[in-house]
Symmetry: C2
Subunit: 166 residues, 2 copies
DNA sequence: GTCGATGCAAACGATTTGCAGTGGA
DNA sequence: TCCACTGCAAATCGTTTGCATCGAC
């Protein structure tokens, strides 16, 4: 299975990737400088891991992958919170309610189809749906800031397997 | 403020209410019997509280209101889980991430506008939106079971107050 | 050198579970 | 009567925080 397909956008070629990484780093260091914070080893490693991951990561994925560098759980939590605050990453509700994270920068807005059997998260773009939603909010005088639109069910693979098994 | 307006549907007249309550109880007792479970005082009280509430309740609301009957937190959690499992109630993500619950039975599907300032939860029906969503899932071979569509932002009252205060 | 960041462990808040006693069918 | 249900307290889970030390600037 090609996990890459599950991401709506991810730089494909090596040069695109290099440029993307560079832009991410610039935004990150600017954010850090603006707030009197520092670019440290653990922060760099976590960001690097996101850049290489191409899928939705849990806190455990990150901690598990980076513990060999002696990075503690607290630091992972602290950094995730920070990256979310500066809008470089986004969080999605995974199956079992545990949050998963995705790179956010320069990626078009999308919603999520979450498979309750295998936990796979598929991204979908629905521009038409977003438009309807916006206008409806306005009718209520409600000023939307962000939203969460997650659909839980069975993905194509799992529902195929399930009906074959019967 | 009339909180009732925030619910898309709730039986209005006394007789409608009585019938609704009767149907809820029948479904609940049937569910209990089917699983070899019992209709106990605490369970009855919690259900009763939902029937009278007409708004989105947190676990704390329920515990707080019923502690005078000596009902423990564990029982509230256990019962909420059970009611959710038999689909009599639904859970919505409140502000601060804590779940809130609503009666689910015989109520048309709706989404939620959640005010990040006052925590108020407003319900919206979007039949057109639901239709688009359904058809898009089908295109992916994804079989939706349930979804969560929550929009966070400022409600009409709060955004008015906020701009007046400036 | 300064002061923010780190890892560790302890603290925390929400939820769950073990258990002995209680009560619904 | 029987066994599910209860409240309580202890346990657990994910996350946060206090603190002494470390390291980026």
């Amino acid at each position: 299975m090609n996990r890459d397909r599950e991401l709506v956008f991810f730089p494909a070629s090596t040069s695109q990737r290099r440029d993307y990484t560079k832009r991410i780093y610039r935004l990150f260091t600017e954010y850090l400088a603006r707030n009197g914070l520092r670019l440290t080893g653990p922060r760099r490693r976590i960001l690097e891991y996101f850049l290489g991951a191409e899928r939705h990561l849990s806190q455990d994925d990150i901690f598990g992958a980076l513990r060999r560098y002696g990075i503690g759980r607290a630091t992972v939590f602290r950094t995730l919170k920070m990256l979310e605050e500066c809008r470089l990453i986004n969080h999605v509700t995974g199956t079992s309610g545990k949050p998963r994270f995705e790179m956010n920068l320069e990626r078009p807005h999308h919603d999520h189809l979450i498979c309750v059997l295998c936990g796979r998260i598929q991204e979908v773009r629905w521009p038409k749906l977003e438009a309807i939603q916006e206008s409806a909010c306005r009718r209520f005088g409600f000023v939307p800031a962000w939203h969460r639109h997650e659909i839980f069910g069975r993905c194509a693979d799992c529902s195929r397997k399930q009906s074959a098994g019967r």
